[in-house]
Amino acid sequence: MSTQTVETATFSDELLKFIETWKDKRGNIIMIMHRIQQEFGFLPWDAMAHMAKLIDVPLAKIYGVATFYHYFKLEKPGRNKVAVCMGTACYLKGARDLIDELSNLLDVGVDETTEDGEFTVESVRCVGCCGLAPVVMVGDDVYGKIGPDGLPEILAKHRSAGTEGA
């Protein structure tokens, strides 16, 4: 596996404080990992090692948990997360075509990041907007009832300035 690192796995004061309050609670590992992922956008190798030391748990255990749950990411994601809902309603209404078109447009597969670090494509389970199916989320923005034709415009909207046409 690739071992991405943050240059210095420095934890912010808030993160350290969070760990302090959770340190002695039972079953705290997952909650702390959520908080770390919130800070870095993924779980950098160094950060997991640092966490292991702070709460005195073997790194192997943390790694075991990290790999079990889909929500935890071990690789740095792109600046924009493009999540295609693959709930049943969205599937019936053409979510698969959206995924195909995205990999066509961005030249990446599911769970991969574009070379310029701009987009990561993900397929997610029901985001609970079935009335709007099919649904694509970019970051926190939800786009409902869209077809493959609508994707280029959405991507263009989120592409950071300066990388146009990249």
């Binding site: 039972r26 079953g27 705290n28 590992i29 997952i30 909650m31 990992m33 959520h34 075991g64 948990v65 079990f68 749950y69 889909h70 929500y71 935890f72 693959m86 709930g87 049943t88 309603a89 599937y91 019936l92 209404k93 075509d97 997610v124 389970r125 029901c126 985001v127 609970g128 079935c130 009335g131 199916a133």
Partner: protein, 598 residues
């Protein structure tokens, strides 16, 4: 009971004020008098959006639309239209006027058939203001329990209510509570857990309940704490539900401030508090023993049962675990009494059920109806039917653990037992409507793909079985299926049901078995004739242009992403089959039905 026609009386805001109710009662009276009340079902519906011509009465299946109906007209409508099948011209609207309103006329009752117990506060109170919950009898059940009821009283009330778990299995709630209550004095500690992992990819009632009415769940958990001797509760919720998490946090902070959580609640001497634990995107963690492992901070793999969590759960201690919807029912049961609750629903399934109605349906959304409501009522009266006049094919319930229900069973009352009898299950309440354009084999493959990804891998029958079944379905949908594949699917299914460790593996084959039972012919089409009747399986589809129908408008050729459609303007077009990627865009684009699936 099957009705041959339906008479819909608009109960919308506009019509109601102009005597709709009287008309409704008159129609019923006359129907009964004429002895046709078993043939025609008379229902009050929501607004048809045509208020200026109200009151409106609509008769199905022929969709006659009567306007400005008066109570006196009821006799004529029943005698002429329902009995003799002749429309009453004088009450019908002129076509021209009507067309103008066609768009809105399609709206149909969404709320009036619903009975909202679980969702009683959703859409009514501000979930971020505890006083609004309190104003609507909030925390009155807790008050009653703390000051006037013993643990046995609470359990007796639950038993009288007949409440069964809404998380899928339908286990009687009172029994679980009793198991734990009976051993509470010997246990070092007892826990209460709310299962808000909601993993079925077509269900979101739990999220909606927590977003709209978080206190109802917290109040119920506190009641369970008092009854079963717990002082600590956990809500295990998906990290993918940020709004629900935020509203829960706000609600918990307010409850603590008001002394409704924490030490010495309302001066009763009883202590109870709740903590949120986040899931991390693993479907199997909805299974109770896996969920408990996850709260403990472990990989979320299930444990063998027995021992059941009620006896040996979180950190080995007795644990009461219920689903969000189950919890949300409890304050009302305590306040109104078990008997009140038991009046709603069917013999074996009491109360209401919340369904997430989605897929090929006009009014998709969350609905709450009494147990025993028929699928027909749900799909046609509340859901407003199938869009674009397509043919209804089936409804999927129970998600990856469930199966399909077909047209012939539309009139079956929906409850735990009937669904199981039909080879599906209640599950968490996802209800996905499919029409003629959906391929049953493809949808089954979708669920199996889900189960392959979500199998935790701990036991072999599930880990290997789901993968093997998926591979076979993949073969069938790509035109490489063989007749033996059907037997193989059935053999694997049986061994998975028998040998898997947890519910995931035991039920993962249900979508296959159920669709094989009702749609075997469609499987055979794929295997023997290498044909996908609904045109979904791309490898089996061939698009052709009907020379009789094509007028040479060039729309399809312009839409084709690989430019494989040739033909001059006003001449018949032809698809180059070798270059065709079967994207189906020409099929969707043609306005003359000239592109067809061969």
């Amino acid at each position: 009971m099957a009705y041959s026609s339906y008479c819909l009386v608009c109960g919308g805001t506009g019509c109601e004020s102009s005597k709709a109710d009287l008309i409704y009662r008159e129609l019923r009276r006359v129907a009964e008098e004429r002895g046709v009340d078993n043939d025609v079902q008379i229902v009050k519906t929501g607004c048809f959006g045509f208020c200026e011509k109200g009151p409106i009465v609509k008769i199905l299946p022929d969709e006659s639309f009567y306007v400005e109906v008066k109570p006196e007209d009821a006799t004529e409508l029943i005698d002429e239209h329902v009995i003799k099948g002749r429309t009453v011209k004088r009450l019908m609207i002129k076509d021209k006027e009507r067309k103008k309103h066609l768009e809105t006329e399609d709206d149909i009752s969404f709320y009036q058939k619903q009975v909202r117990v679980v969702l009683r506060n959703c859409g009514i109170i501000n979930p971020e203001d505890i006083t609004e919950y309190i104003a609507r009898e909030g925390y009155a059940a807790l008050e009653k329990v703390l000051f006037t009821m013993s643990d046995d009283d609470v359990i007796a009330e639950l038993k009288a209510s007949g409440l069964r778990g809404r998380g899928g299995a339908g286990f009687p709630t009172w029994m679980k509570w009793k198991f734990t209550k009976d051993i509470k004095h010997t246990a070092e500690e007892v826990f209460v857990v709310c299962n808000a992992d909601e993993g079925d990819p077509g269900a979101y009632m739990d999220r909606s309940t927590l977003e709209g009415d978080p206190h109802s769940v917290m109040e119920a958990m506190t009641i369970a704490g008092y009854t079963c001797g717990a002082h600590k509760g956990y809500i295990y919720i998906r990290a993918e539900y940020p709004l629900a998490i935020k509203r829960l946090q706000t609600a918990m902070a307010q409850a603590r401030e008001y002394g409704l959580l924490g030490d010495d609640i309302l001066g009763s001497g009883f202590n109870f508090d709740i903590e949120i634990r986040l899931g991390a995107g693993a479907f199997v963690c909805g299974e109770e023993t896996a969920l408990l492992a996850s709260i403990e901070g472990e990989r979320g793999t299930p444990r063998p049962r027995p021992p059941f969590p009620a006896v040996k759960g979180l950190w080995g201690m007795p644990t009461v675990i219920n689903n969000v919807e189950t919890w949300a029912n409890i304050p009302m049961i305590i306040l109104r009494g078990g008997e009140w609750f038991a009046k709603i629903g069917t013999d074996g399934s009491k109360g209401t059920k919340v369904f997430a109605l989605t897929g090929k349906i006009n009014n998709s959304g969350l609905i709450e109806v009494p147990m025993g409501t028929t699928l027909r009522e749900i799909i046609y009266d509340i859901g407003g039917g199938i869009p674009k006049k397509k043919q209804f094919k089936a409804v999927q319930t129970g998600g990856p653990s469930g199966g399909v229900i077909t047209a012939e069973h539309l009139d079956t009352p929906m409850d735990f037992d009937n669904l199981t009898k039909l080879g599906s299950m209640m599950g968490s309440g996802g209800m996905i409507v499919m029409d003629e354009d959906d391929c049953i084999v493809d949808v089954t493959k979708f669920y199996l793909e889900f189960s392959v990804e979500e199998s935790c891998g701990k036991c072999a029958p599930c880990r290997i079985g789901t993968r093997k079944m998926f591979d076979i379905l993949e073969r069938i949908t790509s035109g490489k299926g063989e007749m033996e594949d059907i037997d193989r699917l059935e053999a694997i299914a049986v061994s998975m049901q028998k040998a898997s460790l947890c519910g995931l593996g035991q039920t993962a084959a249900n979508p296959v078995l159920s669709t094989l039972k009702y749609f075997r012919q469609e499987y055979l089409e794929h295997i023997e004739n290498k044909r996908c009747p609904s045109g979904v399986c791309k490898d089996l589809v061939r698009y052709e242009i009907d020379a009789e129908k094509c007028i040479g408008c060039t729309v399809c050729a312009r839409r084709c992403p690989v430019n494989c459609i040739a033909g001059e303007r006003k001449t018949v077009h032809i698809i180059d089959q070798d270059a065709c990627i079967k994207c189906g865009q020409c099929y969707d684009a043609c306005k003359f039905d000239a592109v067809r699936i061969a």
